[in-house]
Symmetry: D2
């Protein structure tokens, strides 16, 4: 059982709160013999790091990751995995706990305050404690390890919708994702989103978004029906991200609207003698098993619940209160969810990759 | 690990293929002391049973469930659970395996034929074998047990969309669901769907759909962050249903389009002295934990991939072939997915209900 | 979580009671492409079957196993596994429930009657219900599947002690195990045990025993430290067998009595260029990982608690009672534990074999 | 799946190597609302700490534990658990990695060197890396948390045998355990062991031992048949301790030697109106479920494999070598296994305690 763990052969356990001394992840099951540098992991944390533009929270965290176990340090500064658990730690440095004193006994609408109190009878109110999106730093670190596991697999994500403003998929250019503060693959949407989000931000409001994550180079045959389907495990991990309210694979909810003729991807033998799908409505998964086509998943993030407008709520003593959430927050938490979604997809794939091939058998035969 | 199992304290393992002698489920972790009759389980199987209208497959199966273990038979014909695993078996009776001979070596587009062959190198092609939606009979039987576990919880489902035809939510009436062959909660949509689906059926085509499942009376406090969130586990189980391509909780993808002011559910103390949510955009779950409001989930089912129109594909020997799927099939498999979705929701909730309360401690103290 | 399941990649779930209609096992994770006949499984059940000599219970059960799923039947009567769950069922035929009416409310000393009642508040008293050693038939069937998984691995067991009468290990001859009703590897102990057990049996008494199970041909490298050590998982499964009170690996408790010089197995390169252990005190496992030497485990079985001598106990209403257990029972339940121990060892090894190599990756590459 | 985790509702994941920067445990599933101080955990680590007498390794580690998450710090310096994962870290301070350079490519007999290399193809040879008994510090810290979970349960351990020298059970006095460097409950054995172990130590040799751990105050009803039996889980965890080769419950292997009349514990109603067992051969467990009597388990620890006598072995390149193990080691590693065994028993019981009662349901109702 796994309140704070996920995966089976590639198994990640995260720990830590928003305002504790540190947070981290233990990655268990990483195959031995993989060489990497700290920078290979840090690069993903930097992508998720707060304070990088005016559209995300102004909390300042360096989010420097430490590797405490599971590797043999090499003379060139790199590390080689040994097959033992990799403990990753990120220290919290910029905690302004005083921001939260007022809400220690009040339930912020849309947050987990009420439900944590109901469930546990005690709650670390400082920055949302364990329910803070800060926990996703640990996921991103673990995702960095997951990426090492699968040679030839590329995992990328992009923001495809903010509020009702969607990208034009005809403009999709992966190279553009790094050129704007939104991870937008469509350069033409950038000024639209900038103007829209500036308005949201200045109003002390927030808005939802949709993220798309894609894995290319995934071998056919990953996933284990009936209850360890690849799409099921991807859905589970994406839904576990803070504020996510919907997940779809391939054409997703769009599949409900079309006919069997339109939806089912036809096949032909390719010129290279390999099976070829003529389309990818399935998002790379049939019967819970990867087809070899790109894995495509999308998830919807609700608007940040922390807003400056006064809202009706109650407190722990059962009194009606009106709350305005102070503290530093993201006007659109969906932006920073892009690297988190990538990490979750990487972890899900790494887990099924190892289930299929075993943790160490392959290594031994090389 | 659990290729064919799900749940932790309420744990279900299913087995069986479309054209084997039988299929079934082992339900492990059901608390002792629950009294039920065979009819209490059979009623849900009857709801899912094929051949009940022209809009579903004409395969005829009685789907009679047997209870092989885990209960003490009582003199009045009822049974009482003992806390040991409950083995449920449904025998297959109407198997027309000859329908499938032709496709033994051909990959039907949209089906799991290709991926099973890639993964396993062998495939029970008869009716899709393990990948057949027939496996969901076992889920529905297990769901019948799950419903016994939680006193006061009501779990219901309805079809809310076929193709682009959506119900009018203002007309929602749960009492109507049993009055039409679609599990439609809106009586006005019924003639529209009838006409539309008749066209689809006669054309040998198929179409997708959206199902909504709702659980009322769920106590606040179920669900275990961070990686055993209630919404995560619901999403996982709904996505595991055959042909499901998307899942959402509460307002789901709609949450991406609105602001924090619109989305976060405000609270007030109710006249009964209990906390009251003024809306339920969250679908009854905050921070992965139930709020006490109704749990609301929707899932999108792709159109049945078995259609009479000839489609391009390949065979196991790597030759291009054109396939027209024969056999008996559902023009809209989404209809029969309603009781399956209910069962999955029931199982997810029963599991978290027991995690919270323990398997037997409560019983002992009564 | 797994009240009634064990294993991870080779995962077995058993169900059924002593006096229900049937019992069985679902074997999940068996690799595809393995060909076997019903006889390949039945042979192990026949070995465990009651009523085969005067030294075991006179209950008569054919214990015929049925395979309900997970295989493609072949024209020659054999079956090939498909990678989907294999459902094995054994129907109960010789149930004399009336034997047990008297003890429905009395707690037999040494049995699980009291603890089941305390835990569950209800108990299937007929033949001990789920706590009956009859459940081990399902284990033995599953073990038959497990043996198919590992080519070149031989798993055998023998009885090495009854009461204080131990075999002479110098006489060990595996070929003798099938030549006597005790699975004794030492033909000289047979008349001793016969005379001793005849006395026990006629006195309506019972006695304990020790079983040794050995796996040869196990590749080096199986087992996953720190908490999925091969010896740990073997100990867990052997301890799960009814009436087992102790487990040891290699020289076991004997290791406590000797020095490091005596205990640690030295190594040399063999003439075949392979590493060679000069002894096997470790029982084939170092640091939780197999060495390539034979895996050797022993377990102690307590005397059958069902005896004809009157014993002091209480009943469910809290009254003192004196009980004499009727019904048919084994004077030395350790005898029939031999095939059960073999099955548990086979399952533990199959699980780790697949963890190491993956469920299907190897198959695909052939 | 759980290479480096154990437990289900009380779930512990450990990480770290002998000579890495730190090691630790993440304890997931600890109920909320438990107040403790750092000293409550440190006390158990101090008991296990090396360098406390001439009979254990002279490595000097303070083994100071830090709590990095899962608690709300209180003004008085204590902490209250919040139900979120508790991350415990112990920094390594006295690492003499240079001691191990020579054996980087040689396989020490009796150690995990060979098997780790076979399995992983890479090995942290510094102090045995992950296979070092230093990992047990993390277990002991986790055990400290486990003890908090069960009010009224007392868990104690003692050394009962070194080599062939056994304590006299008639002299058993728990109060004596803290009065000698062996955790011996029999003061008369102390001079015997001192003299014997001094000889072993001076000879650069080592010897095995047997530890007994006892839990009193355990409520009846813990444990979940058939494959999550309490004795099974205790055996699994005790066998997972480094160097353990045998485990027994109650009279253990002794049960094999006696009759049903002698072995089965009779019952009577006590004067307090509660069920009373007249003996405890079962070691507090029947049918895998606790009886309410003390849980009694013993485990055998092999002699430390690190000895000064030259031994035959091979190196990673397949050459014969003769090895004499340098470095600081325990002449009888069984001594320091006492607090480790206690910790494992505490964790197993805490897990089943929570399975029975649920993680949080009870708390909410107080």
């Amino acid at each position: 059982m796994s309140h704070n763990s996920f995966g089976h052969l590639f198994r990640v356990t995260t720990w830590g709160e928003s305002h504790g001394p540190a947070l981290g992840a233990v990655v268990d099951g990483c195959p031995p013999g993989l060489r990497f540098t700290l920078e290979d992991i840090q690069v993903w944390l930097d992508k998720r790091k707060p304070g990088q533009s005016r559209f995300v929270t102004q909390r300042r965290e360096d989010d420097l990751v430490k590797v405490l176990s599971g590797v043999m340090p090499q003379e060139d500064g790199s590390m080689i995995t040994t097959g033992t658990p990799i403990s990753l730690m990120i220290e919290n440095t910029d905690q302004r706990s005083k921001d939260y004193g007022e809400i220690a006994h009040q339930y912020r609408p849309g947050h987990a305050d009420y439900t944590y109190d109901v469930k546990y009878g005690i709650r670390d109110y400082r920055g949302g404690g364990r329910s803070s999106a800060r926990e996703t730093a640990a996921r991103v670190a673990a995702g960095g390890i997951a990426r090492l596991v699968m040679p030839g697999v590329t995992i990328r994500g992009a923001l495809v919708q903010i509020g009702t403003h969607k990208i034009d998929r005809n403009n999709w250019d992966w190279a553009e994702v790094g050129n704007n503060p939104f991870f937008a693959p469509d350069p033409k949407i950038v000024p639209v989103w900038e103007e829209y989000l500036d308005g949201i931000r200045k109003a002390g409001s927030s808005v939802g978004a949709v993220v798309e994550v894609v894995a290319e180079g995934v071998p056919a045959g990953l996933g284990a029906p009936i209850y360890a389907k690849l799409d099921q495990d991807i859905a589970s991990l994406l839904m576990s991200i803070n504020a996510v309210k919907g997940v779809e694979i391939g054409n997703g909810f769009g599949a409900a609207e079309i006919t069997g003729e339109e939806n089912a991807d036809q096949m032909r033998m390719g010129n290279d003698g390999k099976p070829l799908f003529l389309s990818n409505h399935a998002g790379g998964i049939l019967g819970g098993i990867s087809t070899g086509e790109p894995i495509v998943a999308r998830f919807a993030i609700k608007p940040t619940s922390s807003i400056l407008t006064e809202r009706q709520s109650i407190d722990a003593e059962g009194r009606n209160v009106d709350i305005r959430t102070k503290g530093r927050h993201d006007p659109c938490v969906g932006i920073r969810a892009v690297p988190v979604g990538e990490a979750m997809l990487a972890c899900a794939l790494a887990d099924h990759y190892l289930r299929d091939r075993g943790q160490t058998g392959r290594q031994r035969e090389r």
